[in-house]
């Protein structure tokens, strides 16, 4: 199924050129956290200036909605073409987020506690809820088909690719705007701090000295169409559950392997057909060894595996879409970035983790996302 266009926004930048330049240079976008709570860690903050929503959408203005508007502006021409091809009722908006407007709510709640009243401009329904971002995207695009927000923590923005694929295959829609967005907020930082999961410095996925994650923000939107010209195709999406623990991965990566196997099966491909894996690779002790074990068991030791978390931070609900776009870059550009901070590699990680930029033909690329609740998604992309 063709991905006719996509746009990406994260700590590396808001344009394809900026993001590719940082990835090629092995340059992290992480900066020290300077939010209202003193948490010693680095974060992947989006530094792109995001214009406020105006006119009829001004009351729906949040950082999350501004990111959506930015990404839609990047997709302006492809979206215009899609609207000419398909009826608005047959264009879906299927997105994912874990935070939605939590950053706005958090600030409003602080005012409520300190002053006894919520800020006059705060509107829970228009600014906090998942439906608010959907309203902004549907309004800006004119899409009037099925519209929903997946919220499955760190797989949130990967799952809509599968939903859209199913609805297009079933004949319900012809096109879908998919992907998702998350924004930085104190609650997330404090939550991961309470779990002892934050690295104080830049995270070190697959490295022997890894000590946890960095939180990031951003998102990506992709345009999936029933047919059309594309340089990247959605080949398959595998979805599974660990059925093991609320916040810890299965130690042998059982659910991760199920998701990757399902993506391959749907694509009609064998493990040896995959040229590149963009790992979930968060930098926690448990995730990286479990994921590496699952990859090794299914794909062997030769396929290059890169984590991009040390570039952007873990963008949580935005990660699935952002990293699907990274996998698409590999297919289009013919190179994969260094797996930043992986050296020295953990001896327990017995897969190939390149620490230098690697050129080659990457015709089929897999992107993994795993989440709280034991929720797993693997997105498999390929060249036409």
């Amino acid at each position: 199924m063709p991905i006719t266009a996509y746009a990406n926004l994260n700590a590396l930048g808001g344009t394809r050129a900026d993001i590719l330049a940082a990835l090629a240079a092995g340059r992290s976008g992480l900066v020290p956290w300077d939010g209202p709570f003193p948490v010693l860690t680095m974060v992947g903050a989006v530094r792109t200036e995001l214009p406020a929503l105006d006119g009829a959408l001004a009351r729906w203005d949040t950082r999350c909605a501004r990111m959506a508007a930015w990404l839609l502006a990047e997709l302006d021409q492809p979206l215009r073409r899609a609207r000419e091809r398909w009826r608005p009722e047959r264009i879906a908006v299927l997105l994912g987020t874990s935070t939605a407007g939590a950053e706005t709510t958090e600030r409003a709640y602080r005012t409520y506690v300190e002053q006894g009243v919520l800020p006059a401009a705060f509107d829970f329904r228009r600014q906090h809820t998942f439906g608010a971002v959907l309203h902004v995207v549907a309004t800006l695009t004119g899409a009037r088909g099925p519209t929903w927000m997946v919220s499955t923590a760190c797989t949130s923005s990967a799952k809509p690719l599968a939903s859209a694929q199913r609805l297009i295959a079933a004949g319900t829609i012809d096109a879908a705007i998919v992907g998702g967005i998350d924004t930085l907020c104190s609650m997330t930082l404090l939550g991961f701090q309470s779990l002892g999961a934050l690295d104080r410095g830049i995270c070190r996925p697959f490295g022997t000295e890894r000590a946890g994650i960095n939180i990031g923000e951003g998102g990506a939107l992709l345009l999936l169409e029933r047919d059309g010209d594309a340089r990247v195709l959605l080949a398959g999406v595998g979805e599974s559950s660990d059925a093991y623990h609320v916040s810890a991965p299965h130690p042998e990566g059982r659910g991760a392997r199920d998701a990757m196997s399902a993506a391959l099966a749907q694509a009609g491909l064998r493990p040896g057909d995959v040229d590149y894996i963009n790992a979930h690779g968060t930098g926690t002790r448990l995730n990286d060894v479990a994921e590496a074990g699952a990859i090794r068991a299914l794909f062997g030791a030769e396929v290059p595996v890169v984590s991009t978390k040390a570039y952007t931070g873990h963008t949580l609900g935005g990660a699935g879409a952002i990293e699907a776009a990274f996998a698409a870059y590999a297919i289009e550009e013919g190179w994969i970035p260094p797996s930043l901070n992986a050296a020295p590699l953990d001896p327990a990680v017995t897969i190939r983790v390149p620490t230098v930029l690697t050129r080659g033909m990457f015709r089929r690329a897999l992107s993994n996302s795993f989440a709280f609740g034991g929720n797993n998604v693997s997105v498999l992309l390929r060249a036409p």
Binding site: M1, P2, E89, R90, T105, E106, A108, Y109, R110, V113, E114, F124, R125, H128, T129, F130, G131, G145, T147, W148, M149, V150, S151, T152, A153, K159, Q165, R166, A169, A170, G171, T172, I173, S186, M187, L190, G191, F192, Q193, S194, L195, D227, D229, A230, R231, V232, A235, S240, S241, A243, Y244, V246, D258, A265, Q266, L269, A371, F372, G373, N375
Partner: protein
């Protein structure tokens, strides 16, 4: 962008493919709809009405103040919020009625606000109490807490998701399930619920009570229980009016799913609006199920 068209081949061989205009997808008149399905079971929990049968008879049980979390194991029942337990009770009833295996059935959970009470608790810890955040509370503050706990409790390693769409949440969950039924050819559980709207953040006129409702959708040829044929349609002409109403139910994001269950339990046929007029206009069209 350049590149070849790709609308076929082996890459999505497991998906049931339908070209535009082909059977079931959408008609020439312009309606956008799901494929035809059957409803194989329903479930419901709301205060005083701990199951769909109690609701259908309107026999209130004053003892049914809190949901029990019937589809959770003991450990996860303790972890779950009231919303999670209500979803669990409605799901348990629907799965039992449909005769589906909780360890295998793909599950779609819908909630407009998700774990709002847990989130409020975390905000209180942050801004008022100035206490360290509870890691246990943080891990179940995610929108997919209930779907994750269902999966873990039942050893279900298959598909699960959690979604939101404001007043279109019931329609969104049914459409997601319809896509899954079409792709997999097996029954899918849909459980939607929302808890008491947060007092601090929502005006009194917009508040509602804890409620969860569930249905099991299955392929049209499904050999099990068949309450009705169902199709989800955008912009239908609803002719079945809500059977019961209170202001707090009427403004509940899941009220449309309760209306659908009411119609199913009464054996009514026709079109039920899924958003109570507050969303995009999705309806559920109920028909006699075709012979399996």
């Amino acid at each position: 962008m350049n590149g070849a068209h790709d609308d076929g081949g082996a890459h999505d061989a497991s998906l049931a493919r339908t070209a535009p205009g082909e059977a079931g997808a959408h008609d020439e008149g312009g309606a956008v709809s799901s494929a035809a399905l059957v409803v194989a079971g329903v479930g419901l929990w709301m205060p005083g009405f701990p199951n769909a049968a109690a609701w259908a008879s309107r026999m209130q049980d004053p003892a049914a103040e809190k949901p029990r979390g019937l589809a959770f194991d003991r450990v996860n029942r303790r972890r779950a919020s009231l919303l999670g337990r209500a979803l669990s009770d409605a799901a348990a009833e629907a799965m039992a009625a449909a005769g589906v295996d909780p360890a295998r059935v793909p599950t779609v959970v819908g909630s407009s606000l998700g774990e709002a009470a847990t989130m409020i608790g975390l905000l209180e810890q942050m801004w008022r109490l100035h206490t360290p955040m509870s890691p246990a509370a943080f891990t179940v503050s995610v929108h997919n807490a209930a779907s994750g706990l269902l999966s873990i409790s039942n050893g279900n390693r298959g598909f699960t998701t959690s979604l939101a769409a404001d007043f279109d949440t019931p329609a969104a969950a049914l459409l997601e399930a319809a896509g899954l039924v079409a792709a997999r050819g097996e029954p899918v559980l849909v459980a939607c619920g929302d808890e008491v709207a947060p007092e601090h953040l929502v005006p009194e006129a917009l508040r509602f009570d804890l409620l969860a409702a569930a249905v099991v959708l299955a392929p049209a040829w499904h050999p099990g229980p068949r309450l009705a044929g169902l199709r989800v349609v955008l912009g239908g002409a609803p002719d079945l009016q809500p059977a019961a109403d209170t202001p707090r139910l009427a403004r509940h994001p899941q009220a449309g799913l309760v209306d659908l269950i009411d119609a199913l339990l009464a054996g009514r046929r026709g079109s039920v609006r899924l958003d109570r007029g507050a969303g995009a206009g999705w309806c559920a069209e109920l028909s006699e199920p075709e012979a399996s």
